[in-house]
């Protein structure tokens, strides 16, 4: 059944049609949100908020755009306005404590491992990358995630975010510059002199 038919049924209050419709796109939505917030729980929160908004607004959907475009526009809006559970509950929860404890144990285990140095280096790099990405603004982070990890084209991101391509480029370029500066020592350290060689493959 086409999206349009399902939308019409869902507009008339058919919950099963609504679920059939959203199950065509919800994995993409969850994937994008998981990339963005880097937390399964927060990703599920956003996922639910997105589809509740879709459910509430569907009666007003006028078919002026593709359903998927409209859906991802809502997704990006919810992502940008989302406050993570950690920010909402800044106190340390029991699970946080246990996570930290678990993390400490993992580190201890790593230390006793024969590959300690390599594992620790990987953990440290991951932390640095995570922190650098977290320091980007919400829009820069979202654009960067959509471009780099999800592989969307700039024009697609512009449609989803309801803004000009130039604006998307601005966010993307700023994000790249910031990440490049923040992670400079990591890839210099990793690649060493290889970086000095210029790679021009792909250029005509």
């Amino acid at each position: 059944m086409q999206d349009i038919a399902l939308i019409q049924k869902a507009k008339a209050g058919d919950l099963i049609a609504f679920e059939q419709l959203i199950y065509r796109y919800d994995k993409q939505v969850l994937s994008l949100t998981a990339r963005y917030v880097q937390s399964a729980e927060d990703a599920k929160d956003i996922y639910q908020e997105v589809f509740l908004r879709v459910f509430r607004s569907l009666p007003k959907f006028q078919f002026r755009s593709e359903f998927s475009t409209w859906l991802f526009r809502i997704t990006t809006n919810v992502c940008l306005t989302h406050r993570s559970r950690k920010k909402r509950h800044p106190h340390t929860s029991l699970s946080d404590e246990s996570d930290e404890e678990h993390g400490a144990l993992s580190l201890n285990t790593l230390r006793s491992d024969e590959h300690t140095d390599e594992s620790l280096e990987r953990t440290e790099i991951s932390l640095r990358v995570r922190e650098a990405v977290d320091r980007l603004s919400a829009k820069q982070r979202l654009v960067f995630m959509m471009k780099y990890f999800e592989g969307y084209k700039i024009r697609e991101i512009a449609v989803m975010m309801n803004c000009q391509e130039g604006t998307v480029k601005k966010y993307l370029f700023t994000a790249i510059r910031k990440l490049r500066n923040e992670l400079h020592d990591l890839y210099e350290h990793k690649s060493g002199s290889e970086l000095k060689e210029v790679k021009m493959e792909g250029l005509v």
Partner: protein, 321 residues
Amino acid sequence: MKHDDYKNLLYLHCWDEADDDQKGILKKHLLTCKECRIELSEIDGMKHILQDQSSIEVTDDMLAEARRELRVALRLEKNKRRSFQELLEYLSIFFERPIPIAIGGVSLVLTGLLVGYFAFQPSEPGSDFRLTGITQANTPESEEPQITNFRLTTQDQFSGQVEIEFDLITPVKMRGTADDPAIQKVLAQTLLDEQNPGARLRTVTALASQMEKTKRLDTETKSALIFSLKADPNDGVRKEALRTLLQFPMDKEIKQALTYVLQKDINPAMRIEAINSLGKLMTESNSQDTDILNVLKEKMERDNNNYIRIRASNLLKEIQQ
């Protein structure tokens, strides 16, 4: 062209967004600009660092859990009633307006009279309210209707006329045989709409017991049972739906539902029930259903339950022999 513009071209090129003309311009620039050459290789290095980073993978389990939580939230949303707060808000607006309190009082008295008229007038059982789609062969035995969700929508301050809205809930008792289509229709709808898991469980049990007697499964009930089996957030309801469906010959839809359960249900008991039923079907009918075989292969490798992994492995061996 400013130097920053070349850098922007560089970024576009690194993220596969530059066209051939832009690539040509960039190539010429890179031949003469050391700073951009270094930047190009640094971005390359950064991309390698980022590629190595693990990210949260959206697993089938995570998606199934998100869907389950969403389903509950959607039901709550659908059934959300306008609260008493709305009436209070409306009344507060009503009293804030610069109108004579007396007219307001008269309007309220009239409203009360109207409500009283509708709420307490004697009604003939079943004469005013009918469930759509239920055959009249099965006359519902109605009790007194109850008013809920009362809303004062408009009121004319001068004429004193008011317009009100409310939901009239009529308790309905139906009597009939177990295979009565009207009763089956109501039960199937309850399975889809009822928020209370206990009520849904009782509904599936009722459907199961009647089907044991009649040995007949109509399309609507089957769809409702399959929907519950796949998406009901309550383990008990899903289990009962599965048990009921397994009493009937395994058609394509039931087979697909079982495959879905084996693949996605988070409860291992459900998956075990599904794999046993599918296994029985495959061995008895000597079937080589590709979808089931693929799921069995996946389960053999990845299921976190030992029994399911071993059972899937054995089944695949049996089928291949």
